[in-house]
Structures are given as structure tokens and as C-alpha cells.
Assembly symmetry: C2
Homo-oligomer: 542 residues x 2
């Protein structure tokens, strides 16, 4: 629906459309950081808007067990910080999702990633404990050799199978830390007694037992790559965080699969990079038609080590829409400019659903500055992005603490800077015009001038806020890039090549500005570098 000159309008067209993949999901990890019901609901609205149809909830991890169990109440009571969904809330959520054509897939990760289970039920663990939900507390994995483990799982899964009506049930199964099994002589004796070769065989045994329990409760098992094992029935579904190769290997063996490799939206990639990943590309491209039909779709994954309810929307949207389109539209639809044009339109329309991906950061900036005037900080925030992949986690000294406040600039900026992308495009247009495009030059100059002058305005604010001290070098770099870019334009205007000494000096600045600071990257370095290089080696004007 559009706002038109004579009323709201709907184009009179016939749309023939259907999705390429039947499974178009978004995983939200509510284990690392609890995400309240209202935040989930507005994200369900967002999913419906981009025609996604599976909300996969990662409901338990070492940091929290997030669903009320009436059979085993110590799971949520001792295995969380008190933040979990009641069974009534889950029913409400499932019904809200169902009204929007969205299934809710529950995941209870086991035998690894299950530290929160052991606080209330230490007998499930492979080492004695005591356990608590604490970054410094001892780690463990489930003991698959005790019959009590399976009795417990049977009761828990029976309870949860009723609560979550979906036909599928996710048991995780990823990243099992074998050390705990290695160190337990009883477990090693079990492995030998049953003629198993190693821990992988033990996990396969565990998964077979688990699969029978799930089947008894009428559920189809879903798990991560690691559960793939020939002993398991072909009905199970493999969710691949490892890539199209393991997806293709599973399909060849007759297993259904989902792609999540390449769709990890916590890694702060630009939408274009996610958009380029296709479940049917790479190793999957070589499959035959029957094998291909086993690839059901994919899921964007919102892991929440660095995400709180305040931050979530800005990490999910709008980039997830690019993944949603990849899973819906033909594989041949690849044009990035066209994708970004649609994404920018969608981006502001998603506001209507109550999503805070565009507005939430302003509150965070206000908190950082301690004032109502956030304009200078916004100028900086608009052209930086969080560091990529696992660089932030790698920078943590000591164990990562999920209780630490996430209230720094890195938490408030968008994973993808539209301003930097547009600036890059303007510089391209200017240079391709042989520095003749006056409109582009005017716009570039205006931005460079704003950046040049910004540090003078921002510096006093940075001094006054302990949350912002760390971004002072970024602010200085941005202003220095503004100066360098303006000088480069001056050389263009004078139609004389920039001297080599100047060029070298500027490139040293560029090198310095490229490095991450405060877990942030300045995204306008590359286009300014292009201006510098071109001004030094330019063909004079006219």
C-alpha cells in the first residue's frame, strides 16, 4: 500500500509467486541473552513482512535455560538469571506466530552447550560440579552413558513436545567438548565396552537414543552438522553451520538439510555478502535433482553473545530481508544494486511494525553522551561498523562475561553503514567522470567538510563520558580523512597531480585509520584512499 495523491493506493496487478524453498527461517538465540516476548513478537511481524516461515528459538545454552518446565523446574529456576518464558507465554508466542504463517521450532541444545541444565540437575553432567551460571564456573557436557539421562530427556521432551506443536524438534548437538568425556574413566569404559571407536561414536549413540525418544513423542529430529552419522534414520534434518559441502554430503546420504553457513547475522557482514550465499551453490550445485530436493531451505542465525533486547532489532533488520529474498526468489536474481534499492525501501517501512532497528540506537547514543545533543556522535556513528566475524570475541581478555553491559558505540551502530556505502558510490562516480562530475564533487566536499569539523565538536563530549573515551582515536581519524580528502579534491581542481611526499603522508594516515579501534571500523577509509591515489596519479582536468 502506498500513500498517493488521491488516497492510499494499491497497484492493480496479478502476482504469481511462490517460494523456492519451503523452509525460510530465523534463529534467535534466547540463551545467551534473554529476549522478551514483545521483542520476539515484533520480529515475528518483521518475518511475516518478508515471508519467512520458521522462527527457530535456541532456548537453552550455558548461559540460561529459557522455558518453564513444570516437570523439572530447577532447569529454569536455577539454570537462568530468572529470565525465562512461562508455558503460557510460549503458547501465546506459538499462537501469534501461527497467525502469521510462521512455525516455531524449539531447540534444546544437548549434549554440549547445556551447562545451564546442570545447575539444578548435576547428575546429568560428565563431571561432578557443583555448577552455576557464571563465566568462571566449571564447564561440562551431558553424560550419555547413564540411563537416568535418557529418562530425564524422555520426560522433558515429552513435556516440551506438547508445548511446541511443530512437527520438528531441534536437539542442537554442536561443538561437544570431548575433554569431559576423555577425563571421565566411567565414560571411557562405556566407550570400550560398547565397541565404540571414539567420542564421535558416543555422540552418535546418544543421538540414536534421543531420536527414538523424539519419535516416540511424534517429533522429527533436527540438529547441527555434527549429528550426521550413518546410524541415524534418514528422516532427520541436518542444519549446516559448516557450509554447502556438508549440506551436499548429507543430501547424498539421503538426509534433508538446511543452510545456515553464510547466514550468521551476528558476524556483522553486509547484506550483499549474505545475499550472495545460496543453498544450491558450491558443492550443492553438483547434486542430482532428488538430492537437491532434500535441501529444504535455510535459516538466518542471530546468535546473541553481543546482543541484548535493546540491540537485537538492529542486528536482525534489514539484513535478514536479503536472506529471506535469497530463500524465496530464483537463484539467478543476484543484482546487488537492485537488492539494495529494495532493501532501503523496506528498511523504513519495517518501522511500522514497531521494530526499533532504526530508532533504538538514538537512545543508546543519548545514554553515552549524557545529553540530548547527539548530532556529532551520530556523524561518527553513521560511518563506522562493528568489527567482523569473531574479532570482538577474540579481543576479550579472560572468559567472555555474558553479564557485562553492552552499552558502547559498537553496540549502537548499524552492522552496515549506508552512509559509507553511498559515499563510496559517489567517489566512484566522481572518479569515473574523470573528476568532471561537479554535483558529485559538491556532495563529496560537503561530507568531507562535515567530517573534518566533527572532531572539534565531538571531542569535548568524548572527554565527558567514560563510555566514549575509547572512540576518540576514531573521531580523530575521521577528521584527518576529511582533511586529506579535501586536499585531494583541491589537487583535482587545480588540475595538478598531488606531490609524492603528500601522497605518502596521507597513505600513512589511511593505514592507521584502517585498523579496528574500540571494536569499530571506519568504513570511509577506502574511498578516501581512492581519492588520494587518484589525485596523485591523475589525468589533469579538461
Amino acid at each position: 500500500m502506498e500513500t498517493g495523491a488521491n488516497g492510499f493506493t494499491v497497484a492493480a496487478v496479478t502476482i504469481k509467486d511462490q517460494p523456492r524453498f519451503a523452509w525460510r527461517g530465523l534463529l534467535i538465540d534466547v540463551g545467551r541473552h534473554f529476549i522478551p516476548l514483545d521483542v520476539l513478537k515484533r520480529n515475528l511481524d518483521g518475518m511475516a513482512a518478508v515471508k519467512m516461515n520458521v522462527l527457530h528459538l535456541h532456548l537453552s545454552d550455558d548461559q540460561g535455560f529459557r522455558v518453564e518446565s513444570k516437570r523439572f523446574p530447577k532447569l529454569q529456576e536455577l539454570g537462568s538469571d530468572g529470565l525465562y518464558y512461562t508455558q503460557d507465554e510460549i503458547r501465546d508466542l506459538v499462537s501469534y506466530a501461527h497467525d502469521r504463517g510462521i512455525r516455531v521450532l524449539p531447540e534444546f541444545d544437548t549434549p554440549g552447550h547445556s551447562g545451564s541444565w546442570f545447575v539444578g540437575y548435576p547428575e546429568l553432567a560428565s563431571n561432578p560440579g557443583p555448577f552455576k551460571v557464571d563465566p568462571e564456573a566449571p564447564d561440562s557436557v551431558t553424560d550419555p552413558t547413564r540411563e537416568g539421562t535418557y529418562k530425564f530427556l524422555d520426560k522433558l521432551i515429552g513435556e516440551m513436545a506438547k508445548l511446541f506443536p511443530d512437527a520438528y524438534f531441534h536437539i542442537g548437538g554442536d561443538e561437544v567438548n570431548g575433554q569431559h568425556w576423555d577425563k571421565n574413566p566411567k565414560i571411557q569404559a562405556f566407550i570400550h565396552a560398547h565397541g565404540m571407536k571414539n567420542n564421535q561414536d558416543l555422540q552418535a549413540y546418544f543421538n540414536q537414543r534421543l531420536e527414538k525418544i523424539l519419535a516416540k513423542h511424534h517429533k522429527i529430529m533436527v540438529g547441527w552438522d555434527e549429528i550426521l552419522h550413518p546410524e541415524l534414520p534418514k528422516t532427520i534434518v541436518i542444519q549446516s553451520w559448516r557450509g554447502q559441502e556438508s549440506l551436499a554430503a548429507a543430501a547424498k546420504q539421503g538426509y534433508s538439510g538446511l543452510l545456515s553457513f553464510g547466514y550468521y547475522i551476528d558476524l556483522m557482514w553486509p547484506a550483499a555478502r549474505h545475499y550472495a550465499v545460496d543453498p544450491m551453490s558450491g558443492a550443492a550445485a553438483t547434486l542430482g535433482p532428488t538430492e537437491k530436493s532434500r535441501i529444504l531451505g535455510g535459516e538466518a542465525c542471530m546468535w546473541t553473545e553481543w546482543v541484548t533486547p535493546e540491540i537485537l532489532d538492529s542486528r536482525v533488520w534489514p539484513r535478514t530481508a536479503a536472506i529471506a529474498e535469497r530463500l524465496w526468489s530464483p537463484q539467478e536474481t543476484q543484482d546487488l544494486n537492485s537488492m539494495y534499492a529494495r532493501l532501503e525501501q523496506l528498511n523504513w517501512r519495517l518501522d511500522w511494525l514497531g521494530l526499533t532497528h532504526r530508532t533504538g540506537r538514538f537512545q543508546m547514543l543519548h545514554r553515552m553522551t549524557g545529553t540530548d545533543d547527539i548530532s556529532a556522535l551520530r556523524t561518527l556513528a553513521d560511518v563506522v561498523e562493528p568489527v567482523k566475524d569473531y574479532a570482538r570475541m577474540d579481543s576479550v581478555k579472560g572468559p567472555w562475561d555474558f553479564r557485562a553491559p553492552l552499552n558502547h558505540l559498537v553496540d549502537a551502530v548499524s552492522p552496515e553503514s549506508d552512509a559509507a556505502r553511498h559515499f563510496g558510490a559517489q567517489v566512484q562516480a566522481y572518479l569515473q567522470s574523470g573528476s568532471k562530475d561537479q554535483t558529485a564533487e559538491t556532495q563529496i566536499r560537503a561530507l568531507l567538510t562535515t567530517w573534518r569539523d566533527n572532531d572539534r565538536k565531538l571531542h569535548p563530549i568524548l572527554d565527558e563520558s567514560f563510555l566514549l573515551h575509547e572512540v576518540a582515536p576514531l573521531s580523530e581519524d575521521l577528521s584527518a580523512l576529511g582533511v586529506a580528502g579535501l586536499q585531494a579534491l583541491d589537487y583535482f581542481d587545480k588540475s595538478e597531480p598531488a606531490p609524492e611526499s603528500w601522497r605518502k603522508q596521507q597513505l600513512a594516515l589511511v593505514d592507521r585509520a584502517k585498523g579496528p579501534k574500540a571494536n569499530l571500523l571506519l568504513m570511509v577509509v577506502a574511498p578516501v584512499e581512492q581519492l588520494i591515489e587518484s589525485s596523485a596519479g591523475q589525468i589533469p582536468k579538461s
Copy 2:
């Protein structure tokens, strides 16, 4: 708490403080437009932030009965558009308020303003019906002569008295349309048979019966001015929408009272005007100490004829904070500059509570323009205010339709333009400096230039949106004022008085720009008029 250079800081001070009035309320009319629970909750957070302690819910009116009654389910089922609070939701709300030190006062308005009751229970009405919730449907008031009415009220009040634990219970009692009683011969016969003089006596009889029912259910009766009658016990509380005079009159007769006259925030007054109204001023100032002690406090009133959930926050905040301060702080605290300085600080901090008074309008502007670029519309929106008092209602042709969408510019702008107030102050400073204040002149010129150039940018957008056609004359006026103001400054700069012919021409423009258009007022007309007048009669520079 503040963001400081070394961490979050709290000033080490001892605060001795207590409220002047024990009753500091906010009425929200959920009858005219239903307001969902989450919107009420964030407004309770706002109330707690400014230390208000009574949420008065106007729960029923001609447009809707908004609480689930299990005894009389046709009240909410037929007497609303399906939007009402379940009893569970009311319990949740009362508990949420209680956690924040806020009482919830329920109001069920009777015998007037009760059209929604008659849809399901037409036997309560003074004329035969049939009734429906519809602007065109027949009007009525409750029939106080039937014993069945009191049996009904006894059961309903008994049910609601349990649901709302507060000691007080509001029965409305305002604006009873006597025509329906006049026209009903049975009611007139009842008046004569009981030796009553008129409809007022009949309402007093009704209120006495009602008061006994309330007392039976352990509730103290609260009602609007009209319920004041010597036959009623001194325990009741009069809420005055008429003014301090009727409040003082009640206090003299021994009745407790609350002031709401002057605190009607639907009238779009500036905060300063509400702030100047004191329950103890005017007629109340002449009362003795015992009489004064009967004035319990006051309530801001958010009537919702022109308010939907999307709009509510912007109508309540931040102006209600000024009323909250009036009811808390000494009567002598009157300085407006100081009040506004605090209000501006509070204004952005209220964002933290999830209130949308500052951000909600951007979504509305996006909807109006149908685009993401709302900058030109914001420039206009920032300097207009909705028309005042009942001017908007007066402009409605035919019966007011509560179902009409509220999606015009008047619905999206703030009741009080900060930008216009600041511009006015800058013009004052400039003129008082004898046109020598160069900083002020630069700022004034920048604003006038923005306005001058704005219509050119905005006009194409207005043409494209049926919601915005009506604001085209406002946009033209703003640009014309920008031109006029800049010319006035040019005369100052040239140190020559503006010619009389020019002055007359500009004042004609000013006259035109003063009138309301699209239910909006341009709030920068007066300062531009000052510039024009001063430039014509100025003392030349230096």
C-alpha cells in the same frame, strides 16, 4: 543518574522533599479511543518518573465500554468495537501501577455519557432505542426512575469494586443531557410525584442512590462538578472541570475536591499555561485552612476525541510533567524559564521509558509522505501546533466520527513547538541588543533561509499525498515569512528603516499566516511580525 567521565554518577546529596498535594493524577479517556495495555503501562512509567500517583481511567463513554464484565457481558461485547480490557488485564494493570506507587481510579460515567451501556441493555435508557455505537445512532441517558437501574448498578459496581481495589470510585455525573428526561412522560411524572423541582434534583436523587450502593461496596464516590448537591454526604469528592470557583464552593460546603480545570491536556495549551494554574489560586486562595485542606490535588485530563494509541504519548508528554510539578512543588515555584529548562531535560530522558512522544511522529510523517525523506515536512512540522481549545471539534461538519482515521499533519505535530519558542527567544534577544547581537542574527538568518527554501522542496511531496494537500498554504506562508524576515534583517544591516509600503505588504502576509489552516497554527508568525515592525521603526545600527 548521569553519564560521567569516569562512570555513571549519582550526585551525593541529601534530598528532603514531600508533595504539596496527596492526589496527583492523570486521567486517560479509554472510552473515545481504546488505549492498549502496553501504552498504558509505559505511561504509568512516565507518571512514576514525575511522581504522579493516580491513574484515572475513564472506562466508558458513548463510544465504548472498555472493561470486561462477567455479570453483564453485553456491556463490552455490544458496547464497544471489540476493544476492551479483560479482567485479567485490569488486574495486571493495577498491580503494575501499584508497584510504581500509583493508584488506579476507575470511572464509569453515568447517567450521561453512557450510550455504550444501552446497546446491550436498552432497558437502562430514558428512550426506547434501539441503540448502537455509532456517531449517527440515537443518544440517550440513564433512566433514574426505574428500580431495575439500581439493581443493575449494584451488581455492576459490586463486580467492578472487587476488580479495582482503590478506595475511590468515580461515577462521572457530568453533562447530563436533560432533553431525554424532559421528553419521557414517565420520568416527568416521577419528578412531580417525588416533589422534585427539576432534572438537577432527579440527578441528585440518582447520585444519592448511587452513593449508597458505593458505600455498600466500601467505595468513596468521586464525580464531576455536577454531582455537588447538599443532599450528598460530605465524604464524596468533587472533581472540578469548571474551575477553582466550584472547587472553593465545594470546599466551603465541606466537600473534598480535585482540580482538573486548566489541566485539560487535550486543549493543546503550552506547558507554561498549565503550569500557571494552581488549585489554591483564584477563588480557592480566599479559603480558610480547614477548607483548603479539603483540596486534595488535581488531575491532568487526557480526553481522547483526537487521540489514538499512536498519538497519545505526544499529547501527554512532556507537558503533563509541568502539571505534576505544579501539584508537587510549592505554589511560589513559578519561574517559566526554569520550568522549561527542566522540561527539556526531562523530555528526552522520558524516551528511556519507551514513551514515543518524540519518535512516534516520524512514522506518521513517513506515512503521510509515502517516502523515507521527511526532512522538508519536518521543517514545517517543527514550527506548527494544533489549533487550541475546541477549535478542531468546532470545525467538524456533521457529527464527530470517532472511527475516522487520525492521520493528518495536525495529529503528528507536537502540541507545543519548541523550535518556535526558541526562535521567538532568539528574536527577542536580537531586538533587545539593538540588532547588534551578531550570533543571534546568524542563527535567525539560518532558520529564515531554511524556511524560505522549504516550500520549493516540500511542494512536490504535498502534491503527491492526499493526506498533505491541505497543508500547502501553510508551507507557502512559512516560506513567505522566511523571505519577509530576511528582508527585515537586511534593513537592519543597512541601518535604514524599512519603507512603509513594504511594511504594510508584509503585515498583510502576517495576517494571512496567523489564521488556522488544516487545523494547524504557524507558531513563528509573531516573532517575524516583531522583526518587520522593528525594522520599520528601528533605531539605526551603531
